[in-house]
Structure formats: C-alpha cells, structure tokens
C-alpha cells in the first residue's frame, strides 16, 4: 500500500522519455507532433571514432590494441582504415595514438541502409 502516494504523484507528472530523436525520424511525420533532439551526451562520451589522415604516422598501435579488429592497416600508404560497423567504441585507440590522429566524437546514431556508406568507413 505504501507505493500508492508515489503512484498518485506520478499521475500528474509529465513522462520521462524523450520521444524520437531527430536524425532517424520517419519520412511521414504527420502523426508525430514534435520531434526532439537526442539528450546531450557527457564530455567523456565514447562515440564514433574520427580519423585525421594527415596526422597519422602509421605506427600501427591502434591496430595492435583494437579488440574488435576494426582497424585495417594499409601497408602501401602507411595509413589506416576504420570500419565503424565492427567498432565496439572502447576508444582504447584514442588513448594509445601517439600523434592524436584518432578522437572520439559525440556521434552515436550510426544506423545506415547502405553498409558501404562513407559514414561507416573512416579513412
């Protein structure tokens, strides 16, 4: 019975959920009244890895530490290719990169219809 006051209070409050983030809204949104932005992520967030090709020296440290083998080394150019679909977002590569060519971004909505889309391969 002791839960009843909490339930009554809840009746007059607004819902906690943030309905539907903007990027993946359906084409026909006539029945959706308002589309919200996703809730902002914290500063230390580990999201999609961004790669700065110019800075990269091809030391292969990120290839060595990546648990998901998401980093592919390109021996001719001495650069890497990052496969976002394989990435598990641990950001260990960001920590080990000696020249800060890799960084975690705040991007996390990574669904795509084409698996070869440039959004899913960083090079």
């Amino acid at each position: 019975m002791s839960i009843i006051p909490t339930l009554l209070k809840q009746l007059v409050k607004k819902p906690f959920t943030n309905p539907f983030p903007k990027k993946h809204a359906p084409n026909k949104v006539s029945d959706v009244k308002k589309i919200n932005d996703p809730i902002p992520v914290p500063d230390d967030f580990r999201g999609k890895i961004k790669y700065d090709r110019a800075k990269c020296i091809g030391c292969r440290m990120c290839v060595t530490v990546c648990p998901a083998n998401a980093m592919e080394y390109l021996p001719k150019e001495k650069k890497i290719k990052h496969h976002v679909l394989r990435c598990i977002m641990c950001a260990e590569c960001v920590d080990v990169c000696p020249v800060k060519a890799l960084s975690s971004s705040k991007e996390f909505l990574l669904a795509e219809t084409d698996k070869k889309s440039p959004n899913l391969i960083e090079k």
Binding site: S2, I3, D43, R46, V65, C90
Partner: protein, 410 residues
C-alpha cells in the same frame, strides 16, 4: 495420488530475458523434481580472447555481460596483474571500488524491480526503473557511457574522479539512502509481496553450504560469506566490509525469497556507504602504473605465470583464471560466473513449490545466463548439444578404439 506429468519451461520464457531450459516433474500444482539445461547463450568469448593480447581481452571481458560488465573487467585485469606482477596505484584501487559499487547499486535495484514484476506488482517495477535511472546517469557522468564503462585498464584506470565530481556523487548517495527506505517499506510491509515471497523457495543453510551457493543467495540462507570481507581486494580492506545477513532486519533466517530480497536491499544501503567512504578517503597519486600502452604490452608479452582473481559481483563470487606464457596472446583464460553455483540450488528451492512460484524462485537467485554459459559442445553439424552422458559415451568409445589399435599391434 495423481500421476506425475512433465512441464517444460524455456529456453525462451517469462521468468527472465535470457535463454535457459527447465524441465519440471509436476503432480497437480506441485513441483516434485526439477532439471535444467543451460547452453543456449554460449558465444565463445574465451576462444576469441585466446587469439588476442590482454589489453584487447579486457574490453571483450567487459562484454561478457551487460549488467556485471565492471565485475568482469575488474576480475580479468586483476588476474592479469597477478600473473604479470603489475602493481596498481592506490588511487586507482579506490576508483575501481567506486565503479564496482555503483554497478552493484544499479544491478540490485533492477533486480528488485524485476522481482516485483514476476509477482505482478508492475508499479514497483516502474518505480525501480525510475530510481535506477539516477545511478545510470551518474555512471554516464563519471565514465562517459551508460553501459560498458571502459574505465579499467591493465595497471590502473582511465578516468579520474576529481573533486568537482564528488558533489554529484554525494547527491546520488543521498538519493539512494532515501530510495532504500522506500524500497524497504514496500518490500517488508506490503501484504502482496510478503504473501508471495515468505516461505517460498527455501534454501536451508546446510543445502547452501553443500551446493556452494555464493553471493546474496548464500547470505539469504544465513552463510556469513562475502568475497569483499573474506578475501579482501581493491580498497575494501581499508573500508572494512561486513556481509549483510537478513537477521539484521527480521531477527531470524528462513532462507526464502524474502530473505534474499532483504540481503539485496541492505546491500543497496551498504554500497552507498562504501562509495561515500571511498570519496572521503581517496588518496592522491597517479591513475596508472605505466601510462604507455606499448610498455605494458611488451611487459605482458614477456611475462610468464598464472593469475587468479575473485570479485564479489552483484550476484556473487566471480572467478577469472589467466595464464600468460611469453606469448603475445593470452595463453589460457577461464571465467566462472556466480550464477553457475547459484543455479545448482534452484532444484532444491523448487521442491514442493507451486507452478505459479516458478518465475519468482528463478528470479530470486538473479540468474545471468550470459555470464553462466561458458561452454557448449555441439555434435557435428546436427546442432544437437551434448550433455555429460553423451561426453562419457564418447570417452568410452575412444578408449575402446585405442584398445582395438593396441590389440591390432600385438
């Protein structure tokens, strides 16, 4: 007397979200025998781990389970550190402790909600989810992400908890002390919950000892057993943790679902206290023993030895065994999850229970099948998984075959 009939439950069933198969023998409404068969959630993480170096395996170990991910990372990193002889700075130990306890908080609150859900008390489930949101936000604030925090590294931690962040932790602790009172009130004084949990799924102290129950399941049966107290690790030695027993609240120990609930609720309060003491006493110093990953990697490559670590995960004692053998990759890695012990106690708890109590009893040990399923043996391409009798048969056939070869040589 009526004839006994069989009832199958699972692998996909309402008691929990993970796949496990139960086979009950039932007379009327009463369960008289229980058999169980796990093996549906095996993913071969250890096999992946043995192809990778320890730094890579640490992140894989976090992904064994979503709810106890810190426990796995903590245990694996300590096993590797023991094998390679790496010292961890004191400040890192305190930060590791804080994350372990925050995980226990969210796991126990989620469990309290789930138990209420099994009983059919959905408003408490939603209340639990609402209360749990605060600790998830805190974990996100401290580590960057809500699940799989990635805070541990071999030899220390990645993220510091500076003074500016203490204020938010203290607010959370205050919130959880209030939530504990509320939960205690709901679970101890509500008539429905009492009727569904009192005297249900009894595991006596003797049975718990015999079946090697661990964690809250063992403590609910009155065993004074807690890895944090008996085999102190991280900063728990400085803080002095005592195993929480249900007799502190009710004065007696029955070993039923209610007692296991009380233990978990008491641990919510205890975790909040431990976190508070950790931020009060946190020493200054470095976060990692060696900041360069390349140096750690070369040290682990040349290391040789075995390491065992045990952690009190939210569900009980978690065990990791690691062997390094002067190779780039981890030579052997074995994880043993607490559900492995606790699930053995389920057939005993089920004795004479009603069919309607089955989900409540299964839920009461807080099973985590993703942690439990560490091996699955499949016969050829048939997809049929083999049990211990099949394996014994296979073993006999091999001996027979060798015997024939030997006789052929003679």
């Amino acid at each position: 007397m009526h004839d006994a009939y069989k009832m199958f439950l699972g692998p996909v069933h309402p008691a929990l979200e993970e796949p496990i198969f139960f086979d009950f023998k039932i007379v009327g409404e009463k369960v008289i025998a229980t058999n169980l068969k796990p093996g549906n959630a095996h993913r071969g993480i250890e096999a992946l781990g043995m192809k990778r170096n320890p730094i890579q395996v640490l992140y894989l170990s976090e992904r064994i389970c979503g709810i106890c991910s810190v426990s796995h990372a903590s245990t694996f990193s300590r096993a590797v550190e023991a094998a390679a002889g790496i010292e961890v700075p004191e400040r890192a130990d305190y930060i590791r402790t804080i994350f372990c306890e925050l995980e226990r908080l969210h796991s126990h609150i989620l469990w309290a909600g789930l138990l209420a859900h099994e009983i059919g008390f959905h408003s408490v489930l939603h209340y639990g989810m609402k209360v749990r949101e605060d600790v998830m936000d805190l974990l996100e604030y401290l580590s960057g992400n809500r699940v799989n925090y990635g805070v541990y590294v071999i030899g220390g931690v990645r993220r510091d908890i500076p003074k500016e962040k203490h204020e938010k932790i203290r607010q959370s602790i205050k919130y959880y002390n209030a939530a504990f009172e509320k939960f205690k009130d709901v679970f101890l004084n509500d008539k429905t919950i009492r009727m569904r949990t009192e005297g249900v799924g009894v595991l006596t102290k003797n049975d718990a000892l015999k079946l090697c129950a661990v964690g809250p399941t063992a403590r609910g049966s009155g065993l004074n057993k807690d890895t944090r107290q008996d085999w102190s690790y991280l900063a728990y030695g400085d803080i002095g943790v005592k195993a929480q027993l249900p007799s502190q609240v009710t004065g007696k120990i029955n070993g039923d679902v209610l007692d296991r609930t009380i233990v978990r609720l008491l641990e919510i309060k205890q975790s909040a206290e431990i976190i508070e003491r950790c931020i009060d006493q946190m020493p200054k110093g470095s976060l990692v023993s060696e900041p360069k990953a390349a140096v750690i990697l070369s040290r682990l490559k040349n290391a040789e030895g075995e390491g065992i670590a045990r952690t009190e995960a939210p569900r009980g004692e978690l065990h990791h065994y690691v062997r390094l053998a002067k190779k780039e990759v981890v030579d052997t890695w074995k994880a043993k999850a607490p559900t492995y012990n606790n699930l053995m106690a389920v057939p005993v708890m089920m004795k004479d229970a009603q069919i309607a109590d089955i989900p409540v009893i299964i839920c009461s040990i807080d099973p985590c099948i993703a942690c439990l399923d560490r091996v699955s043996i499949i016969e050829g391409n048939s997809g049929k998984s083999m049990n211990k009798y099949d394996l014994h048969e296979l073993c006999l056939r091999k001996s027979e075959m060798f015997g024939k070869i030997e006789r052929g040589h003679q």
